[in-house]
């Protein structure tokens, strides 16, 4: 399959085999994410959002359909993923964690530390650059894994609820920072969140997924002007209209998801 600059999925399926039979995690997912687009995914828990992202990251194989991701250019890594769970290496200092991708790509110590320090300053952890993760709070560790992905300068950023564990102040700061970096670099970004607000503040489009199996329910274009100010954008009428639209779509799915859970 020939790929453009974006990501193309055609009829992608993913089935997991368990002891009780097979589970359909993803069913017939077809979608196009443009090069440089900020694409958000919301959906009830267990709808296969993370599975979809792991397929894009190359950590999981789809069981059917085509996945098309552009090849890496000029030595930049294809994608870097920010995982939902704690994924910062306990055996590396903050600085070594943030420069991990650069180390694997053969950057010298001096060079990669200089780059890493810039991103450590961005996440506000300069004082902790030499600290080990067990000395940090959960939110600080999550910021480190965000910086690790940014510092690697990938073609595609894959983020799985990266700010879910953060307190609100830090979340807003990092959202704003993410927007700033994205405006500068226009990296293709796929961003999973459980927060409609976050999806609206960040995304160009928001995809709502159905639960069990995960399918595309709808894709909503977010026509809010850029560059966005996260505090100001929430007061606009358009934001509220979009919020309403997405919530009504999502609500049915969340309720359906609950029914299925209860039925089991």
């Amino acid at each position: 399959m020939v790929c453009g600059t974006g990501i193309t999925l055609r009829n992608v399926n993913k089935t997991f085999s368990t002891q009780g039979g097979t589970v359909d995690a993803l069913q017939d997912v077809s979608l196009n994410i443009g090069g440089g687009e900020f694409f958000c995914i919301v959906g009830p828990s267990g709808c296969g959002k993370t599975t979809l992202l792991r397929i894009l990251a190359g950590l999981e194989e789809s069981t059917g359909g085509d996945v098309c991701i552009p090849a890496a250019s000029n030595g930049r890594p294809l994608n870097s993923m920010v995982f939902q769970e704690q994924s910062v290496f306990p055996w590396m200092s903050v600085r070594d964690n943030v420069s991990y991708g650069l180390r694997l790509r053969g950057f010298g110590k001096k060079e990669r530390y200089a780059i890493a320090d810039r991103f450590i300053r961005m996440i506000g952890l300069t004082r902790f650059a030499d600290a080990y993760p067990h000395q940090l709070s959960g939110g600080m560790k999550q910021r480190v894994s965000v910086a690790r992905a940014f510092a690697n300068d990938p073609e595609i950023l894959l983020m799985d609820e990266p700010f879910g564990a953060l307190d609100e102040q830090n979340r807003i700061l990092l959202q704003q920072e993410l927007l700033r970096i994205w405006e500068e670099s226009r990296k293709t970004t796929v961003f999973i969140t459980h927060s409609i607000d976050e999806a609206l503040c960040l995304g160009d489009r928001v995809m709502v997924m159905t639960a069990h199996p995960g399918r595309i329910k709808s894709i909503v274009a977010i026509d809010l002007p850029r560059p966005r100010d996260i505090a100001a954008i929430r007061t606009t009428l358009r934001y509220n209209q979009l919020f309403q639209t997405i919530w009504l779509t999502l609500r049915d799915e969340v309720l359906k998801g609950k029914e299925i859970e209860l039925a089991h």
């Binding site: 950590l59 890594p77 870097s80 995982f83 994924s87 290496f89 055996w91 991708g101 694997l104 080990y132």
Partner: protein, 256 residues
């Protein structure tokens, strides 16, 4: 639990007083002939035997010989143990190929294969080093593999996502991630090495702390036997302090 004032000092005093009072009791019981000094000696007799052994250089020489064997055997056993253990942890293929052999041969007492080792390697240094190496190897390989298998899968995902090659997996995830368990294996291995040195020096040795014990047995020299036993205990203590220090230096991120 509420901490008593000076609790730390009190605990430390107790840990010095209790062995000291045991020594005093031993000496007193020996003095009043409540225990047979021909078999159990007494602290003062042991010190009397210790001083000439020390100043003649005999004790130091024998200790040095044993220490050299222990360190060599430890290294020869631990290094392949770590490398193979990491490979077994990372690769299901290597694991399924090697694990049955390890599981089948691990329970064989290392002393039981000493005669075979002597036949293969002769009576020289090699057989002694090899005996120790085998004992250390098993403990290190098993612990290292468990250490790698215990690493949270998410870290392997991160490495994969960041484009790690085989060497990167070894050096940036498997080895550092398994280090706490590797050190647990090394500490057990060091204990095993001290057990095996005495056995290895039983046969065909002309020096060493273990050899001193067996010579003392032949000559019914109980004091010399106790001196050698004390040297072994001090050696074990020093080695464990050294390993602890190395661990603090290499594994600074270990949560205690």
């Amino acid at each position: 639990m509420a901490k008593l004032p000076n609790g730390g000092l009190f605990i430390r005093v107790v840990s010095v007083l209790s062995p000291l009072s045991l020594l005093i009791a031993w000496e007193l019981l020996a003095r009043v002939d409540a225990i047979d000094t021909r078999l159990f000696s007494s602290p003062s007799l042991i010190i009397q035997a210790f001083v000439p052994l020390l100043f003649s250089g005999e004790l130091i020489y024998n200790t040095a010989v044993s220490v050299q064997r222990v360190i060599l055997g430890f290294a020869v056993g631990a290094v392949p143990g770590i490398i193979l253990g990491i490979s077994m942890g990372l690769s299901p293929f290597v694991r399924s190929a090697v694990e049955p052999m390890i599981a089948a041969t691990y329970p064989i007492p290392k002393l039981a294969i000493m005669p075979l080792i002597l036949l293969v390697f002769g009576l020289g240094e090699t057989s002694k080093v090899f005996t120790i190496a085998i004992g250390v190897f098993y403990l290190v390989v098993i612990n290292t593999m468990a250490g790698v298998l215990n690493i949270d899968k998410i870290y392997l995902d991160v490495a994969r996502n960041y484009g790690a090659n085989r060497r990167d997996f070894y050096l940036t995830v498997a080895f550092p991630g398994a280090l706490p368990m590797i050190f647990a294996g090394l500490k057990l291995g060091m204990g095993m090495a001290l057990i095996l040195i005495v056995a290895a020096e039983l046969s065909a040795a002309k020096a060493g702390v273990g050899w001193m014990i067996w010579r003392a047995y032949d000559m019914f020299d109980i004091e010399q036997m106790f001196v050698a036993l004390i040297v072994l205990s001090v050696l074990g203590y020093i080695f464990s302090l050294l390993l602890d220090a190395v661990e603090r230096w290499i594994v600074p991120w270990k949560q205690t």
